[in-house]
């Protein structure tokens, strides 16, 4: 658990960081919170020649509402999200998720940007960002581009980030009134990856029916998974236990988990069915202001 030798570089600006990435090629890696990368290096699974530490670049850790979005700078630490009362009030799904990530020591350093850029389907924010229909801003040598979250995760541990690019901002559309969300995760112990987890974000119409719904699933496929048919089945419907049970089935249908130490695929499908129903109930309660 001793990493091989590497060079450590501390750029002062994002353009400088991007220039360093180009200079050092494929063997250079961006270091943000480091809580995925450093363990991989200690196990010598990752052996980057250069670490480009973006944590000293000023102005990357903002969390603010602007232009119809909640904008999260790439260096915003998980712990900050946990502690902002207005985030708890308006983005309960986001806070639920953050609180389920690893443990407090990890969250003191880990970043939302890193959680997404790592491309790990077992990480928690990807499902949540799918449910929120977030956008990812990416900066490269030729400027910024925006990628919808549905196009961000491209393969196992692979994202739309090209070499020489840095994830710079996460944008969550500000939910309309009568919105609620919830993240439910079954883990073997605190700090574990999910055996299965479900992120739900929904909005209600004035008549109480479900107007929009997003459902993201964690660690049940090679990619973070959107339960497309489950979302469709909710739209325009009045919330009910029967509906949620049906949607739970559809969410399970969207999953293709594997057997591992956390349990069998069948067990995980049971969890997805149940967690989806519970997350929907909770989200509706929150949207109705009852919880």
């Amino acid at each position: 658990m001793i990493p091989p030798t590497f060079d450590y570089l501390v750029p002062a600006t994002l353009p400088e960081a991007i220039a360093l990435l180009h200079e050092h090629g494929d063997e250079a890696k961006v270091l943000a919170g480091g809580h995925s990368l450093i363990p991989a290096m200690r196990l010598r699974f990752a052996e980057p020649s250069h670490l480009i530490d973006i944590s000293h670049i000023p102005g990357l850790d903002y969390i603010r509402e602007e232009g119809g979005f909640l904008k999260i700078g790439t260096m915003a630490r998980e712990v900050v999200l946990e502690d902002l009362p207005w985030i708890s009030e308006r983005y309960p799904l986001l806070v639920d998720t953050t609180k389920m990530i690893a443990d407090p020591q990890v969250r003191n350093l880990a970043t939302v940007g890193g959680n997404l850029a790592h491309g790990d389907p077992a990480n928690d924010h990807p499902a949540t960002m799918l449910a929120y229909r977030a956008e990812i801003e990416i900066i490269g040598a030729s400027g910024a581009r925006t990628v919808p979250i549905d196009e961000f995760f491209t393969d196992f541990f692979t994202t739309a980030l090209e070499h020489g690019e840095i994830l710079s901002e996460i944008r969550i559309p500000i939910p309309p009134v009568l919105s609620g969300g919830c993240y439910l995760k079954v883990e073997r112990k605190v700090g574990d990856y999910a055996a299965a987890a479900v992120a739900v974000q929904l909005s209600l119409a004035a008549d109480g029916s479900i107007e929009q719904a997003g459902i993201g699933l964690t660690n049940v496929a090679a990619l973070p998974t959107r339960a497309v048919n489950a979302e469709k089945a909710l739209r325009g419907q009045q919330p009910s236990d029967a509906l949620f049970a049906h949607v739970g089935e559809l969410a399970a249908d969207a999953s293709s988990p594997a057997d591992d130490l956390r349990g069998s695929a069948e067990y995980k499908l049971t969890l997805i069915r149940e967690l989806t129903q519970r997350a929907l109930r909770r989200s509706v309660e929150r949207a109705q202001g009852r919880s």
Binding site: R188, D192, L261, L271
Partner: protein
């Protein structure tokens, strides 16, 4: 109610003194082995086997040796020149230091690198691991297949060995037990597996070996629970290369958790010592987390067939247990020599069972060696799990409340000292009040009502009881030794002229708080304030000889030695006081801190007056000074006990489990420091729920460990641990000078069956009689699925 004989200022027994050692620990100022830095120190790292069973075809040292800063690559062939490639285990088996031809488990040491820098050493190990060629072979992973006719012979190095059987051990009356079972009205039987787990101390193992060629002296800073025994072992094993015992100094500095895992000698220690001896420079070797978890001694791994016989009315009449023990490729257990399965024969537990028979067979497999006493006083965890589980199985079969059945079968207070069917003489006990107290605290009757209501609604909750009896304080010299060295322990106490003191011990604290509790024992016996008594352990050049700290033995042995040494000092102090007060010794009475003249209490001399006089004005003809040493040979072991109740809620849809309540009533006899005892119990309970719900070392069929990091080897954190509700009864040990017993292991031993019993209780209406630990949500889900609760 704990009564204190001394004032708070003196701080003797019963006072919750803050721990003296915490002044450095809570500031991060402890001094651990890895903090040792010596001029010119070199670093060692170890290349390990990727296979569980393989022939080594070749080791090419050249690539590693070419890395700048690499000084040496050491292989088994190199050690063979000094006959250091094998070493004895504590159980008189043999263990490779480095292999010359065959590797026996995944992560076994294959070769070592010595370099000028820790990072260079790690790079060299990576290069070296890529330069070793193996022919892998099909390993034996399942111990049930170890004795199959077509199983490979794992230890052809052992003369005359024709199969993988290590030893057979049995105790009890086989015939009488057979008769009890054949005549029994009711018999229950379960297969109970206690999984292979790891102590997972937060500080891994390691050492700094420093051989000074000019003086011919070897000093080793080492993470060891038994420094004196290690010194003697090194002298015996390495005498032929010129290391003799007076020139070996073992220093065990602060230790970040031992739990039995730091009793054995690991190959890394021997290689580092050999490297320093040959190179003449200090060599540091510190394992990383994965090495510790994957290669160091495991604990438990008993496959037990447990049977209990009783009358229709529930009176237990016989106990029979047959065990298959998976020891890995060598028997490197850390038990007293005469007890290959430790003190497993305490397995009749808290119950008056007239006949019992237990037998065990140990086998070799391609897994790491061990069988350490992980906070379990030598295989008592396995024993307690067997009896406490099968007691619940019997209650279920008879349709009896498990608490009632226990009350019915408890050894009664007036039966002590009690001779168990398997031969132990229990020194003391009073089991019913502890269980009654636990039931009152948890609100047992109400919980049973709640459970019935919940069951009717399809909700799952369980109440699990464990009324365990421990056996600690090894041990009396007639039965207990390790490699022939008797299991006494020692204290050496010196009183300074100003009435302060220093005391040194043969034990070694790893978090137990000896610097505080030993001082309190001496304060109790001498009246010198505990804060003015300095306690030292762990340096073999200064401390008196002792067998170290494990198996909850420190208070029963070294704690008693402290009291006995203090009594010797008091005897001399009485003579000095008589001289100073010009009265005869018989005219003096002692109260903590002073002697006074009977009938004239104003005429007195304090222990401080007497200490000063011992150096300035001692009676003519008497030796100056005030000090004593005692080597305590306990007349018996001590038998702490307790009753625990766990209340468990299970989500019937996801099978997630939550411990709602956990009540722990412990009886460890007289208590030295209530706060430390409570702390010991809190820590031990956490370590008790760990194997019950989370921990297990898992191997695939090829012997690959599947959870060799803390990402998948699950240690509970504060989030998983419930709010412990503790209490105690006090039944003093009749033979210990302070009436004390050990305590550290009671909760580790007692908690797992309370958890397992709670889970089975929650599922018992479905016909479930047993679930092996760790009881995970996935396991419970499988049961709920099988029983049709989950579709």
């Amino acid at each position: 109610m704990i009564m204190c004989k001394t004032s708070k200022e003196i701080g003797g027994m019963g006072h919750s003194l803050k721990r003296k050692e915490d002044a450095r620990f809570i500031r991060g100022l402890g001094k651990y082995t890895d903090d040792v830095q010596l001029p010119g120190m070199l670093y060692m790292d170890i290349a390990r086997s990727p296979f569980a069973y393989a022939k080594i075809k070749s080791i090419d040292k050249s690539v590693a040796m070419e890395i700048p800063g690499v000084l040496a690559v050491i292989t088994g062939e190199d050690l063979k020149q000094y006959n250091l490639h094998w070493m004895p285990t504590l159980m008189s088996d043999t263990q490779m230091v480095l292999p010359t031809d065959t590797v026996m488990y995944q992560a076994q040491e294959v070769a070592a690198v010595i370099a000028t820098d820790r990072y260079i050493a790690a790079d060299a190990v990576q290069a070296l691991e890529n330069s070793i060629e193996y022919d892998s072979m099909k390993p034996i992973i399942d111990p049930h297949k170890a004795l199959d006719a077509d199983a490979p012979l794992l230890r052809p190095d052992k003369d005359g060995k024709t199969d993988n059987h290590i030893w057979h051990w049995q105790t009890g009356d086989e015939e009488a037990t057979e008769k009890a079972f054949s005549e029994a009205e009711v018999v229950v039987k379960e297969q109970v597996y206690i999984p292979r787990i790891h102590v997972a101390s937060i500080e891994t193992c390691g050492c700094v070996a420093s051989y000074e060629k000019a003086e011919g002296k070897l000093t080793v800073w080492m993470t060891t629970q038994a420094p004196h025994a290690i010194r003697t072992v090194i002298a015996l094993v390495a005498g032929h290369v010129g290391l003799s015992e007076e020139r070996i100094r073992i220093i065990s500095p602060d230790i970040g958790g031992g739990f039995g895992g730091k009793v054995p000698v690991y190959p890394g220690y021997v290689i580092a010592i050999a490297a320093s001896f040959l190179i003449g420079k200090p060599v540091k070797w510190i394992e990383d987390r994965s090495e510790n978890l994957q290669a160091d001694s495991f604990a438990r791994d008993y496959h037990m067939t447990v049977e209990l016989a009783s009358t229709k009315e529930g009176k237990m009449t016989g106990l029979r247990i047959k065990t298959l023990a998976d020891h890995g490729y060598t028997d490197a257990a850390a038990n007293p020599s005469k007890f290959p399965s430790g003190l497993f024969s305490i397995v009749t537990g808290s119950y008056d069972i007239p006949t019992a028979f237990t037998e065990m067979d140990a086998v070799y497999t391609n897994k790491p060696p061990g069988g350490v006493a992980y906070r379990c006083s030598f295989r008592v965890t396995e024993a307690v799990h067997a009896i406490e589980r099968i007691t619940d199985v019997l209650a279920q079969k008879l349709g009896r409340d498990p608490a009632d059945l226990r009350f019915q079968n408890f050894i009664q207070k007036d039966q002590f000292p009690y001779r168990s069917a398997l031969g132990w003489e229990y020194d003391s006990g009073d089991y019913a009040p502890a269980l009654r107290m636990a039931m009152d605290m948890v609100g047992y009757e109400e919980l049973r009502k709640e459970q019935a209501e919940k069951r009717a609604r399809g909700e799952l909750m369980g109440i699990g009881i464990s009324s365990f009896t421990e056996i600690v304080g090894a041990g009396p010299s007639k039965d207990f030794d390790i490699l022939g060295i008797k299991m006494f322990d020692s204290a050496e106490v010196r009183i300074h002229p100003t009435g302060k003191a220093i005391a040194r011990f043969g034990t070694k604290s790893q978090g137990q708080g000896h610097e505080t509790t030993y001082a309190q024992i001496l304060a109790e016996e001498l009246g010198i304030p505990a804060m003015h008594i300095q306690i030292e352990e762990g340096d073999t050049d200064t401390a008196p000889y002792g067998l170290g700290t494990y198996a909850s033995r420190s208070t029963p042995t070294a704690g008693a030695a402290a009291a006995k040494a203090a009594h010797k000092i008091r005897d001399k102090a009485r003579k000095i006081a008589a001289y100073l007060l010009e009265v005869s010794e018989e005219d003096l009475e002692w109260e903590p801190g002073k002697f006074f003249v009977k009938g004239a209490p104003e005429r007195s001399k304090t222990i401080q007056d007497i200490a000063f006089a011992a150096y300035t004005n001692h009676p003519q003809g008497m030796e100056a000074g005030l000090e004593a040493t005692h080597y305590y040979d306990p007349p018996n072991l001590t038998f702490p006990f307790g009753s625990y109740i766990c209340v468990m809620d299970i989500d019937p849809k996801t099978a997630e489990m939550k411990i709602r309540r956990f009540v722990a009533i412990d009886d460890c006899g007289n208590i030295i420091n209530p706060m430390i005892v409570t702390g010991q119990i809190h820590g031990g309970l956490a370590m008790g729920i760990a194997p019950a719900m989370y921990e297990e070392l898992i191997y695939d069929d090829d012997g690959n460990i599947l959870n060799g990091t803390f990402m998948d080897y699950l240690l509970p954190t504060s989030v998983e641990t419930p709010n412990w509700e503790t209490g105690h009864t006090i039944t003093p040990s009749p033979h210990h000078p302070l009436g004390a017993k050990g305590v550290a292991e009671s909760p580790t031993v007692g908690a797992p069956p309370a958890v397992a019993n709670a889970v089975v209780d929650a599922l018992s209406h479905l016909g479930v009689t047993h679930v092996d630990i760790p009881v995970t949500p996935f396991k419970v889900w499988q049961i709920l699925k099988e029983k049709g609760v989950i579709s």
